[in-house]
Symmetry: C2
Subunit: 183 residues, 2 copies
DNA sequence: AATTTCATGTAACCAGTTACATGATTCA
DNA sequence: TGAATCATGTAACTGGTTACATGAAATT
């Protein structure tokens, strides 16, 4: 939604894209279908209602572009409240449930930080992310160690996947921290 | 659902768990809250309706356990149709959209293979997964290379995360293949 | 002339979330 | 005796999916 609870992944993605420059629903769809942001629903049945909701909650506003033209479109941009809402969503502290259930949203938040936040905040964000990821890796390893020869012989291997990919995430965070500090 | 379309992630997880041994709704909730399978909704509002649906579509059946006891519970097990449906869901060929949007489901399917499939099929599954993952990594790298200095300065770094974690997944698949071949 | 792209929407459906509700059992 | 655990459910809401629908503009 936006006013009280945190925005859904899709709303956050839309807010972030619109924060970069005014965009139409179609622009957003195109981004979702052609770029690596593509695990969002590019279906009009998701995007146009989401845009309506954001307008109704006062986070974005739409103006008709090229009124005179035969193919007008609606360009959305953030309102002041929308910018604040995005800012809050990006700044929210990283917690464990984010790491487990919404890692892609954490990456999304990072991707949109450049346009809004000063680097210091981004560094703090990455550092807290790194901490949570490392805790999660340890927990997975404990689970792995404590796992009995269960009815699912491949279970431990599947958990190993979690260990390996979260470790890769931790490496990425360190890499990103180095990169940002170099500038 | 089950009869025609493929089961949702949650239904698949429930089918898989029940295939190992008869379980109650509460058992399933406990597994979702305490093990690394925890990115499933452990809320009763998700699980009990899902169990109802699976019963209605004839994939599972429930019997009252400990009738005489004061705290009876309903134990579910697969029907023949349910076992076939699970088998089909596990065997479905890996495609690119699975890799992009439902990687965790691909892992879930692997985790449940041990109890049902012969190893040869599991190896074939992993090999096709590896192929798709490698294709996806190449695509991400192309995107990265073709990326302009955009309005989102951290965008390329975020994509780099995708490259690193999918590479980790590829390493895991190779690891799993070696492990399975050793037996 | 036909196809693809630009551009926006609606309607029915379904599944998951949140919150509420109940009650026995076991443990501290 | 009170808290935690075992055990199962319902109701309202919300948001996403699928499918349908329309039509102009640009490209082949």
């Amino acid at each position: 939604m936006g006013s009280r609870s945190q925005p859904s992944s899709l709303s956050l993605a839309i807010l972030g894209l619109i924060s970069q420059e005014p965009r139409s629903g179609y622009d957003i769809r195109r981004i979702f279908t052609t770029t690596p942001m593509g695990h969002f629903s590019a279906s009009p049945g998701a995007i146009y209602p989401a845009l309506d909701r954001l307008v109704r909650t006062g986070l974005i506003k739409g103006v008709i572009d090229r009124k005179q033209a035969l193919r007008p479109r609606r360009l959305y941009s953030l309102t002041d409240r929308g910018r604040r809402a995005l800012d809050e969503a990006l700044l929210r502290p990283v917690d464990r449930s984010d790491v487990i259930w919404r890692l892609d949203e954490l990456l999304l938040r990072f991707a949109f930080m450049g346009s809004i936040h000063e680097q210091k905040r981004t560094l703090a964000y990455l550092e807290s992310l790194l901490g949570e990821v490392e805790i999660h890796v340890s927990w997975l390893q404990e689970q792995l160690a404590a796992m009995p020869e269960s009815t699912a012989p491949y279970g431990p291997l599947a958990i190993k996947h979690g260990v390996m990919t979260y470790r890769a995430t931790a490496r990425w965070v360190r890499h990103a921290l180095r990169q940002l500090r170099e500038d």
